[in-house]
């Protein structure tokens, strides 16, 4: 038996609201399946399961807010017997106790009592939460007295007439959107303050002649339809991924005073949100993806980031971060490392600059690449090799 817990999706995340289950008791699940949605400061995150098995029990119902680490469900290994005392265990699972012990915020959540199980469709549950309807007062007309959407609507209509319950709705919704951005701000503040407090950064910078890479990309893009074109940012992601293969010390974490380089290369790519703030979701195994696959992955990630639909692994797996601020016109990025990572690569705008080579001066498109490194984990020598490797891969762009 394994517990499927409320994940920690950021240094400062204390709790999350379970929004929806994608599985039910008895369903078979595979490692990596998305089995639940959780609402956090960073929006609604799809949470993946880490084991293969069968959903044995669901311990937390949609709408409940629980602290990080709380067991949300029990996953039974394939072939493992269902425990006979399962029914009894339900009442005394650790999650219930943890939940009671945790300091409850006074913010009113839709009242869902665990003692009396309410049968309700997920749609109706969401609806009820939106309309602030107390589910214990709704009569279900569905199978086995289950509450459906129409029941919630009727209850909402009833509540509306005698008391003025519902008109509070619009401001509450606005508050929620504002709360989301406040949440992102808080999450960034916590991570960055910790970074500057704990990480002794060192910075390196190099200029890279982009003429070969850009010319190659232009020739390639000319053959392609608009939809298949590749952005220069994709070349940079791939070059960083390959450079990390050459200099693996920069790919990984610093945890509890120990440097832990990681084998898999998951690149966190900083994506700005239109309303302010940013998220750095991971592009998994960037070194193993082709440029087309990376472009597709980036497109998908940007769309889902802006729509607030990321997966838990994307929020937690990054082994390094890339910040590309070239679009806005800055030349050089001095980054702040995202803990517990040990490095951040920054790229500025590609500008035409004088360039001297073999005693000849010419004009080339030049990119400034920077590295912010954690001096506890690596030294400038390692960082210099890494920037040199990025340059090498960009000159050899056909092999990217």
């Amino acid at each position: 038996m394994a517990e499927f817990r409320m994940p920690s999706l950021g240094a400062d995340m204390e709790d999350g609201i379970l929004v929806e289950w994608k599985v039910k008791t008895g369903d078979h699940v595979k490692r990596g399946d998305i089995i639940a949605e959780v609402e956090t400061q960073k929006g609604i995150i799809e949470v993946e399961v880490f084991e293969d098995g069968v959903v044995d029990q669901i311990l937390v119902q949609p709408g409940e807010k629980v602290p990080v680490g709380t067991a949300l469900a029990i996953i039974r290994a394939e072939g493992e017997e269902e425990r006979p005392e399962t029914a009894e265990a339900k009442k005394t699972t650790p999650s219930t106790e943890e939940k009671k012990a945790a300091p409850e915020k006074p913010k009113p959540q839709p009242a869902i009592k665990r003692e009396k199980r309410i049968r309700i469709s997920p749609l109706a549950r969401r609806f009820a939460a939106e309309l602030a309807i107390d589910l214990s007062k709704v009569d279900g007309t569905g199978p086995d007295g289950a509450i459906n959407r129409a029941d919630v609507e009727r209850a909402a209509a009833r509540a509306k007439k005698p008391e003025k319950h519902v008109p509070e709705q619009p401001p509450e919704k606005k508050e929620r959107a504002a709360g989301f951005h406040e949440g992102i701000r808080k999450a960034i503040a916590a991570a960055m303050a910790r970074s500057n407090r704990e990480i002794p950064h060192y910075y390196l910078e190099t200029r890279i002649d982009m003429s070969r890479a850009l010319k190659g990309l232009e020739t390639e893009n000319r053959k392609r339809s608009v939809k298949e074109r590749i952005l220069p940012a994709v070349l940079l992601i791939k070059a960083v991924a390959l450079a990390l293969g050459d200099v693996p010390a920069l790919n990984g974490y610093w945890i509890d005073g120990v440097h832990r380089p990681q084998e898999a290369i998951h690149i966190g790519f900083a994506i700005s949100l239109r309303q302010g703030g940013l998220v750095t979701p991971a592009i998994h195994h960037a070194d193993l993806k082709s440029l087309d696959e990376l472009m597709e992955a980036l497109r998908d990630l940007i769309i889902r980031t802006r729509a607030g639909r990321l997966r838990s692994s994307e929020m937690t797996d990054s082994t390094i971060t890339i910040t590309n601020l070239g679009d806005i016109g800055v030349e050089t990025v001095y980054g702040v490392i995202y803990p517990p990572q040990v490095a951040l690569t920054g790229f500025g705008r590609i500008t035409e600059q004088p360039w001297v080579e073999n005693g000849m001066i010419g004009i080339r498109p030049v990119l400034t690449a920077t590295l912010a490194g954690d001096h506890r984990a690596t030294d400038g020598h390692t960082g210099a090799r890494f920037l040199d490797a990025i340059n090498k891969h960009l000159q050899d762009w056909e092999k990217l």
Binding site: E218, R222, V226, L231, P232, R274, G326
Partner: protein
């Protein structure tokens, strides 16, 4: 297709990319990337959107001619049937 229709299409496509933008505030000579805070990924989507709606295939080398609403309108007018 007249200028007004092209303008409307441009606003439609941009509206999907930058839903919070106020197009009345956008003057014909504003740089759309800077004014609307559009990054290179958004800009590519803008080109894809114009391609979908108007059937113009804009080569990468012409992106520089699409910086402002006035330039976009004249470029599209010259290239659309």
């Amino acid at each position: 297709m007249n200028e007004e229709q092209i303008r409307k299409t441009i606003v439609d496509v941009l509206g999907q990319i930058a839903p919070e933008a106020d197009f009345d505030e956008l003057s014909p000579d504003d740089n759309i990337q800077k004014t609307l805070d559009i990054d290179s990924f958004d800009f590519l989507n803008f080109i894809i959107g114009l391609n979908d709606k108007l059937g113009v295939d804009i080569p990468e080398s012409d992106y520089g001619q699409l910086a402002t609403p006035a330039k976009i309108i004249s470029y599209i007018s010259a290239h659309v049937e």
